[in-house]
């Protein structure tokens, strides 16, 4: 039996998200009290310094965490449904490895521009990551698509092949880079939200809204797809069109997430899985609940990343894994006990 109804879980998460976000506003190198934060958010603030910290530094970062977390977790849920494999994640279609190569290439070849914050606040690394991720996904998709449609198995294999190639290219780039570049590459691969700006928040927010608006249309089709492609067709689902739409949206969502926050692992793989263990695989609830849970996880992880080694900061991606993995193990153990 499931422990929680879908509606109740979503209600809990909807309440939890703003609480966690507000709490996250108060923590960091400079600690700001609850009262001051609430005053600043819902009224007039006492000091401009607090305003600057809250609205120019922390708020964009928290919003970015919410959008990135939501996009990674929902695309993870969608990919797991599309591949009919609870262990699939967005990186399977090559988007992460492609983005990695794009970012490394930019770091190695155009290292000088990055410090200058070229391209109106969006660094060249971000653009490289997005282009790399999107290109790799298109390549994987084309490799797996024939006159007969897109084979999910071939896509999985093509994703592994492209991933291996990208890994080799990445190693090659690392091999030819100097110490400073090497550090930048590995930091980028750990995933970090510290570069948040209002521009990044706006772009990421628009992408998140687009995905949240379009994914629900296909949630029944995804449910049918869990039975198999032929079964879904017999239930009236245009499988090829749904597949193409979801893959393009995922590539876009993950591509932009990776561009603004680097490789934040774990959220896309584990969050949908955890939510599914709690409320079951119905995508009508799984997708929004995963989105909320992913957003909360990333906000919490990023808050911790800001405070565990004050005055320095940890890359967010490290914290998501450290936080999520034990929780996931606990859930697995509990599930084993229930069976």
């Amino acid at each position: 039996m499931r422990h929680l109804s879908a509606g109740r879980l979503i209600a809990i998460l909807v309440i939890l998200l703003p609480v966690v976000a507000l709490l996250s506003m108060t923590v960091g190198t400079v600690s700001i009290s609850w009262i001051d934060t609430l005053h600043a958010v819902f009224g007039s603030s006492s000091s401009t310094q607090i305003d600057t910290i809250l609205f120019d530094i922390r708020l964009p970062r928290i919003l970015l965490a919410i959008f990135v977390g939501a996009v990674l977790a929902t695309t993870g849920a969608v990919m797991q449904g599309l591949f009919r494999n609870p262990l699939a994640d967005p990186s399977l279609i090559g988007v992460s490895s492609g983005a990695s190569v794009g970012a490394s290439l930019m770091i190695v070849t155009a290292g000088g521009f990055i410090q200058g914050g070229a391209l109106v606040g969006l660094s060249l690394v971000s653009v490289g990551a997005f282009v790399g991720g999107f290109t790799a996904t298109l390549l994987v998709y084309r490799l797996a698509t024939s006159g007969m449609g897109t084979s999910v198995t071939t896509m999985l294999l093509a994703g592994i092949a492209i991933g291996a190639l990208a890994g080799a290219l990445n190693s090659l780039l690392s091999y030819f880079s100097d110490n400073d570049m090497l550090r930048q590459i590995s930091l980028w691969q750990m995933g970090n939200l510290s570069g948040a700006s209002w521009l990044k928040v706006t772009i990421m927010g628009l992408v998140a809204m687009l995905l949240m608006g379009l994914f629900p249309r296909d949630s029944k089709a995804l449910n049918a797809l869990l039975l198999g492609e032929s079964e879904a067709r017999h239930l009236g689902v245009n499988v090829q069109r749904v597949k193409r739409r979801l893959i393009v949206l995922t590539a876009l969502g993950v591509g932009v997430s990776v561009a603004v926050a680097g490789l934040v692992g774990f959220v896309g793989l584990i969050m949908p899985h955890i939510v599914r263990l709690m409320i079951g695989p119905d995508h009508r609830w799984l997708i929004p609940a995963s989105g909320l849970a992913g957003a909360i996880l990333l906000v919490v992880a990023d808050s911790l990343a800001r405070i565990v080694v004050i005055p320095a900061e940890l890359p967010t991606g490290i914290v998501t894994a450290i936080l999520g993995a034990p929780f996931f193990v606990a859930l697995l153990l509990q599930q084993r006990k229930d069976v």
């Binding site: 029944k220 067709r233 239930l235 009236g236």
Partner: protein
């Protein structure tokens, strides 16, 4: 109104899977397809339901070419139960049956009622809240049967409805085999055209109006079970010596091997 295969051939990677098959499935009748392993029974079902396009020939559903129907329209008239359905996600039984309501916009309350009735019909009400992934093979197959029944539970305004079953009884014990055949007969009485692949000739003889024997991709015989099931045919198609007699109660042909 019928489901009609007109002179279809299926040629796949160098093999002739089906050759010049013409078959008419009438609404309100039960058509059983029998034949040895690899004869092309499942291929024929795939062509009939549009999973594969025939190399030659046409398939019609209610007087219109099958591929000219919208997928959603087709799904409201034609339901298909495959031999195996691999479902690795922990849906409960009523959620699986609910998937059969995807092509319809009948609303939650109506769907819930249909799901409960369909589960009841296949003797699986007790499974309603259980996880599909934890069921036995026969229980899974019954839930899947309920799913395709739920898909054509109410008549469609688009045309006659058809149910295609690929070896529906293979995982069932005796009582559920009988239950399945009863359900199939009931559906036929309500006007649904049923096509199913069966391995058990006696089950086929008992419930089919039209019996189609397929061998090596061609139709070896078709007609009423009484006409089709003869000792020479069974010897020729299956290579098995048999005696054909009459069932003492149902008066249907009974094959003893």
């Amino acid at each position: 109104m019928t489901m009609l295969a007109s002179d279809i051939s299926l040629h796949l990677s160098g093999f002739d899977l089906l050759r010049h098959i013409s078959l008419e499935v009438e609404a309100g009748k039960v058509t059983a397809i029998v034949g040895p392993n690899g004869a092309g029974k499942s291929s024929l079902l795939k062509v009939l339901t549009g999973d594969m396009s025939p190399t030659k020939g046409d398939v019609y559903l209610n007087n219109r070419l099958l591929n000219q129907w919208q997928l959603l329209e087709k799904a409201q008239m034609l339901a298909m139960l495959p031999q195996h359905t691999l479902l690795n996600f922990p849906f409960t039984a009523d959620e699986v049956v609910g998937l059969g309501r995807i092509p319809h916009q009948t609303g939650n309350a109506k769907d819930t009622q249909i799901i409960a009735e369909a589960l009841e019909l296949v003797d699986a009400s007790y499974l309603q809240r259980r996880f599909y992934t934890q069921m036995s093979g026969g229980e899974k197959q019954r839930v899947q049967l309920a799913r395709v029944l739920a898909q054509i539970w109410q008549p469609s305004c688009l045309g006659e409805q058809f149910l295609v079953l690929d070896e529906p009884t293979s995982a069932f014990d005796l009582s559920h085999q009988k239950l399945t055949l009863d359900i199939v007969r009931q559906l036929a009485q309500k006007g649904v055209g049923v096509v199913m692949v069966l391995h058990d000739l006696n089950l086929a003889a008992r419930c089919a109006d039209n019996l189609v024997v397929i061998n090596s991709g061609v139709i070896a015989a078709q007609g009423s079970p009484e006409d089709v099931l003869t000792e020479p045919l069974i010897d020729k198609v299956f290579g098995v010596k048999s005696i054909i007699t009459e069932h003492p109660i149902t008066k249907r042909p009974l094959v003893i091997t």
